[in-house]
């Protein structure tokens, strides 16, 4: 009829009120459906189906890994701290096969060598020098082209004597080739390098022999045995600790490291018991 408001010409407040009521109704409905189907406090009618689906997708390997992680937390006892990890594609390519704990052969030093992966990439220790280039060492961070620190392990907290806790957990010392013409190139291969990505794509299709063949290509310029301790932990070491932003007292400690002597010069180093009681 003329002059009469049409059905959809309601005041705006009506829509607002209607919307609020709809939300409330929907929330109650979702709550009720959850209560009936999956909630542990209700009849849980869908739980058997959910369990069946989980069972079909279950991996014995994954279960065992989780169980071991849980076990390790308690075995370790000293409060295992979870740190953020780099995504696979930003990790050095070596990680694909060797993980963050690559050393396992020498019982005496394997844990100590693995400790170094916190500070530098594999190439820092295992790089084969080129004839036409010198190797320079800089801090490398996959998220930051020019990391400025402060970096972990580079200084002591004057209050506690402990190493300073830092925010940058990803920077590592990495080698760069520097050529006579002033050009510089990274000696580091990260996992999104074309060769690495291609390998990840096809590695399940390759025979073990073919896989070995490809792996050789990853090890160009890589020597199996890394540097000896003295190569870095000495006054004229290849790493200029001060230049790499280590504090003066930390740099001296690293140059004149106690552990190095224990590892290289002594078979056994007995701990005195005079002050035990």
């Amino acid at each position: 009829m003329a002059g009469e408001p049409k059905r959809l010409e309601h005041p705006k407040s009506v829509y607002v009120i209607g919307f609020i009521f709809k939300i409330i109704t929907l929330t109650v409905l979702i709550g009720v459906v959850y209560q009936v189907t999956l909630s542990p406090h209700g009849p849980a009618v869908l739980v058997p189906i959910q369990k069946k689906m989980e069972e079909s997708q279950r991996s014995a390997i994954l279960d065992e890994v989780r169980r071991q992680e849980e076990y390790e937390k308690h075995r370790h006892f000293h409060n295992v701290v979870e740190y953020p990890e780099l995504p696979e594609n930003l990790r050095p390519v070596c990680y694909i096969c060797h993980s963050d704990y690559p050393h396992s052969k020498s019982k005496k030093v394997r844990a100590m060598l693995n400790m170094h992966t916190q500070f530098f990439v594999c190439e820092t220790c295992h790089i084969e020098e080129k004839k036409d280039a010198t190797v320079a060492y800089k801090w490398y961070n996959p998220y930051d082209g020019n990391p400025e620190g402060p970096f972990f392990g580079t200084s002591y907290d004057p209050d506690t004597g402990n190493l300073v806790e830092v925010e940058d957990l990803f920077s590592k010392i990495a080698p760069y080739f520097e050529f006579a013409d002033g050009k510089s190139e990274t000696a580091l291969k990260i996992s999104d390098a074309p060769l690495a990505q291609d390998y990840m794509k096809v590695r399940d299709k390759l025979t073990p022999e073919q896989r070995d063949n490809v792996k050789k290509k990853f090890h160009v310029n890589i020597k199996p045995k890394g540097h000896e301790c003295d190569k870095c932990h000495s006054k004229k070491g290849i790493l200029d600790f001060k230049k790499l932003a280590f504090s003066p007292n930390r740099a001296i400690d690293l140059e004149q490291l106690n552990i190095k002597g224990m590892v290289t010069k002594y078979e056994k180093f007995y701990i005195p018991n005079l002050f035990s009681d």
């Binding site: 992680e69 390790e72 308690h74 409060n79 701290v81 704990y101 400790m115 007995y270 005195p272």
Partner: protein, 383 residues
Amino acid sequence: MGNKPLLKGRKIMNQLTIRCFKEDIILELPKILITAILCIAAFFTFTLSGSEADAADKENCLMCHKYKQIGRIDEQGRKRSYYVNENIYGNTTHRNVPCRDCHSYIDKLPHDEVTEEVNCANECHVKPPFAKENFSHKNIIKVYNESVHGVHKDDSEELKQAKPYCKYCHLNPIYTRVDEKRIAFEQTLSRCLNCHERKGVTQAYKHITHRLRNKTSRSPQEVVQLCSKNCHANMPLMESLKVSPESLESVETYNESIHGKAVALGSQKAADCISCHASSSIHDVYKKDHKLSTVNDANRINTCNQCHENVNERFVQIDVHSGLGREEKPLLYFVNLGLQVVFYASVLGLVGLMLLETKGRKKDGILWQIKKGTSWRGRSKRK
């Protein structure tokens, strides 16, 4: 200011030990001379150390173990981390215990692969206040050994393997502040500070107040999770250990109970496993027919009395872990089923009505409906 001697002490220690390795001539000296130098170095560290973790690390184990990547993948492919975070360790209950008090099998550096387990009954070189003997966990271990979780002679090999040992349940406890409502932390601590040094007394105060919340320092949710996960809710394990039918479904019946539901919904006051099954000794869990069991018929009044008032003989007959099996308890089963039907029918009916109402109101709008009456049925009444 106070840390200058510490840093100086560390520096001297470092220099002394460095010289041991650096100068070749030292290599020729008898071992006793090296030991003597190290003793002097150790003396400086002992007397001048100031960091919290340093208190326990008189032999500088953290020299290696403070790095997070120290570890390896073992022969079975398991990741083994040997990292001890010095800042966190300094804030735990074991902060003053020298490393070798627990790891007593380590006698040289670099030490061999550790194959021995730590014995928590070891006496450590920490003397508690009010006592002259060295501290040890042996009292609580005695209670634990006699409990249902301790290993007994007549246990099968499988049962012995499955029983929880200290580290199975315990991690190195980190001090946390107790709820302000329970203890006004700063206000109470300020009284201690009249006589005692802040750093030491704050840790001691946290140590004492750590347990002043519930029977344990863990939340009810954590306790239920601890007892259930991997153990009492692990049906294949429990079946293989041939536990009683009641024990087999204990987690399920607890979760169905009023206590279990309250804890699942976040209550910090509702009873968890420890509340009923152990006294303040916490480790004295027994089977319910054992006379020392807190859930034994003779002791139940005291147990329920911890939370409930006016507990009498009839009250303690209430089945806390009540299963609702159709065969065992048909009446209870059908009453429960009937109540569930009534509950869901009411809720779903109401929601259905609301949906119909909403659909109807959409036709003419709420204001019109308020003024002119309902419009949800039939054609629009707007004229």
